[in-house]
Structure formats: C-alpha cells, structure tokens
Amino acid sequence: MSDAHDRQDGAIPLEIEVEGLRKTFGRREVLKGLSFSVRRGGFLSIFGPNGAGKTTTLRVLATLLTPSGGAIKVAGHDVREDPMPVRRAIGFISHNAMLYPDLTAQENLRFYADMYGVEDREARITELLERLELSARRYDVVRTYSKGMRQRLAIARAVLHRPRVLLLDEPHSGLDPRAVDILDGLLTEIRDEHTFVMVTHNIAKGLEWGTELMIIEGGRIAYEHAAGVDHEAFSAVYREHVRDGSMV
C-alpha cells in the first residue's frame, strides 16, 4: 500500500523502514529515492528487470553498501549510524554461497558461529545440518559439494545466528527440485516471527510467499500492492510496467 509506511499500526512494529533511499555509483544514479516499509512478520517480494536496483537495495539493507541518501532502518537501527546491531539481526542468502571452499562444512559454520557469537554452537550446527540433510557431508570440504548442496549450506550459514530478518537474493535460482523443497520447508518453518525481503525473478514463488509485492524499475518503485493478486493479473501488471523482464 502506498500509505503503508506512514500508517503506524500500534500492535505490529515496523522491522524495515526505508525513506528516500538513494544510491549513486560515480555519476550513475542507481536508486532514485525509494520509500517503503515492512512490518515484523511480513514478507516483501521484490520483482523487476535486471539492473533495476533490486540487488542494490538488498545490499543496502544488509549494510554491504552505504546509501548515498535517505534514512534506512532495519530492526530498529539505522544502517549507517549503527550497523552492528543490524548485522546481528539479519541473515543474507544470495546466489554466492559465501563459503570457504577449502574448509569443511563444520569449519565454515563454526567460523560464522564464532563471528556471530552463537552460544550453543555445536548443537546449532548439528541441528541445521540435519535439517538441511547435509549431516553425512559434515566433515567434507565444501569444494566437493554440488551447487545444490552449497546453497543448502549457505542457508545454514545465513540462519545460524537466528536472525530476525532474512534477506534473500534470488534464492531459488539454480537449485535442484529437492533443494527447492528443503528451502521452502525451512522458510515455512521459520515463517512466523521472522521478517523477509526476497528479490526474485520467479513470479510464482514471489506471489506464493509475499504478503507485499513490489516492482522496482529504473531505480524507483513502479508498483506496490499487498498480497492477494493472482498470477495472471500480476504478470499483466509486470509486463505493463517493465519493458524487458525475464519471467517464470
């Protein structure tokens, strides 16, 4: 809803608040003033053509990029002034696994657990490896993993520290059907009490999960709507707003 970000529903706090987000790379303005918000427990699906600024937006939320302008708060903290609590509160899944290929799954997860200060480290690692069906390969170096297995391990890495907010950059792309099922299963399990922002080209998945939908195009929000739009209608809207997109 276009007025969602200025309507404060007292019962459910805003987990992500973005006001006038701008980002320029040199002379190129990639994000031209985005404003939106996501309630705690919400799921925002972001669509748009390549180069629209979707991944850039996500990386700003993840504190990997500093915004050129605007006020951005995640989990109640400003990403520029106060990035540390933001980092503790978010998990990031992208198509880069961000795993060390010469370390085993155990060593990778142990490293990240130490970096995040996860207290029940061993138990948590065991629990996640089981959930993601990787226990058998726990002590194998990641270099020997298939792409699907790496993505699964990357999911473990992202949720290891029990983040409140999950940022997903095209998480289903390149996954085999089994991995897709595992990912969806995990998302279902943690769906409550977590907030999500997912960038995706997969309209079906985006509509299935999202409570709010958004199309970004040319660095601006081209379309916003709460969930409840059916696939046909949305595809029509998408085509209308976007000149060259890839659709599933």
Binding site: S94, Y116, R164
Partner: protein, 245 residues
C-alpha cells in the same frame, strides 16, 4: 511471542556483542587452517626464497671466492619483501573470488579486527618462510660464526616483519579490489617499504658481518618500532575505508 525459540531469536538479534578477541581468533584460525590445508602460499613462497638464493649466488659471484657476507642482509630482506608480495596476493585472491569477503563483512565485526587478524595471519606465514630461509641463506653466504648473533637478529626480524605485514595487508586490501591487482600491489608497496628496507638491511648486515649487539643497533631498532607504530595507527584509521564499499 514467548516460546523458547522466539527467545533464542531475540537473543540472536542484538544480544550482547561478541567480544573482538573471539572474532579475531576465529578469523585467524580460519586463515591458518585454510593455508595449512592447501599450502598454496607457503609452498610457493618457500620455493621462491630458495630459488632466490641460487639466483643471488650466480648474480654476485663475478669473481672467484668473493665474500658475500656484507650482502646477506640485503639479499635476505629483498627476498622476504618480494616473497611477501607473492603471498599477499594469494591470501586475498580467494576471499575476493568466492565472495567470502561479503560473508565476512556481513558479520557484526569491527573492520579493524579483520585487519589485525589478517595482519597477524600474514605475519605467521612470513615467519614460517623466514624460519626456512634464514638458516639456508646464512649457511651459504656468511663467512663467520654467527650463532651468537641470532638474538639481536630475531628482534630486527620481528620489528621489520610487523611493519611489512601491516602495510602489506592494508595495501593488499585495496589492490584486490582493482583491475590489475597483481601488478598494482608491488607498485604501491615497494616505495612505502623502503625505509624498513634501509633499517632492516643495515641492522642485519651489521649483525652478521660485524657481530653488532642490540646496543649498536639502537637507532635502527627504534626507527623500526616507530615505523610500525605510525603505520599501525594509520592503517587502523583507514582500514574501514579500504575494505568497505
């Protein structure tokens, strides 16, 4: 919203900050495990150092029976600096290629902690190389007994290594994000490290060729200490910018 699971989630999001020391150890351990398992850096650096020795022998043996004792300091430190350049490129290349750097930057870790952990990691590798190179070089090139001089030499070694690793780590962080990362690092690094080279070679030569003790080397040692302090502070202040985006 009060199940044990949601409490765990609450703790994960903004609970007590992780101590820097634990994170420092985690990064250091990760780099050491990685390197000891693949031995990429260490093997190439050791081979390089031993080859350098052979090349120096042929480069300088212009006359029959020439005594290279006075040159050992220079040969050693030139070799270490170039070996370090090789090693630094390797150590950052992988972080960059696998996007692991993103993973690291996502963590709630002070950027300076990353800098210190990487510098100490590089220092460990340099010390390993030197543990191999020094006995071999000194055996082959020094024409007097020098066992009693090892202590002052170790002091020089540690002080010079600290400066080399701190500056090298900072510059490698910058150069790994550029187009021609392998060529850029030497160009940035070598002019800056000349003062260390001057002090370290002078001190080393005085130790091995003339048996100078710590007292005679005081000026150079203090200089190296000052260099290390100044550049550690400079790297501390600028590392955030070097590694971020």
């Amino acid at each position: 919203m009060n199940s044990p699971r949601s409490q765990a989630i609450e703790r994960g999001a903004g609970g007590a900050p992780v101590r820097d020391w634990a994170q420092f150890k985690a990064i250091l351990r990760k780099d050491l495990i990685r390197e000891l398992r693949t031995r990429d850096m260490i093997v190439s650096m050791i081979l390089f150092v031993l080859l350098a020795m052979v090349i120096f022998h042929y480069a300088f043996s212009v006359k029959e029976g020439v005594d290279l004792t006075y040159f050992t300091g220079g040969m050693l430190w030139v070799t270490f600096i170039f070996a370090m350049l090789l090693g630094l490129n390797r150590s950052f290349a992988q972080e960059k290629d696998e996007h692991c750097l993103d993973g690291l930057l996502l963590c709630p870790v002070d950027r300076v902690t990353i800098f210190l952990a990487k510098t100490v990691g590089n220092l460990v590798f340099l010390l390993i190389i030197q543990a191999v190179a020094v006995p071999v070089f000194t055996l082959f090139f020094i024409e007097r007994s020098y066992l009693g001089d090892m202590l002052p030499f170790l002091v020089v070694l540690l002080l010079a290594d600290a400066g080399i690793c701190a500056l090298g780590t900072l510059l490698a962080t910058i150069s790994m994000n550029t187009r021609s990362r392998d060529l850029l690092l030497p160009i940035l690094f070598l002019p800056l490290i000349v003062p260390v080279l001057i002090a370290a070679t002078g001190a080393t030569t005085l130790i091995f060729a003339e048996g100078a003790g710590l007292g005679g080397l005081l000026a150079r040692l203090l200089f190296l200490l000052g260099f290390d302090a100044v550049f550690l502070v400079a790297a501390w202040g600028t590392y955030d910018f070097a590694i971020g985006e």
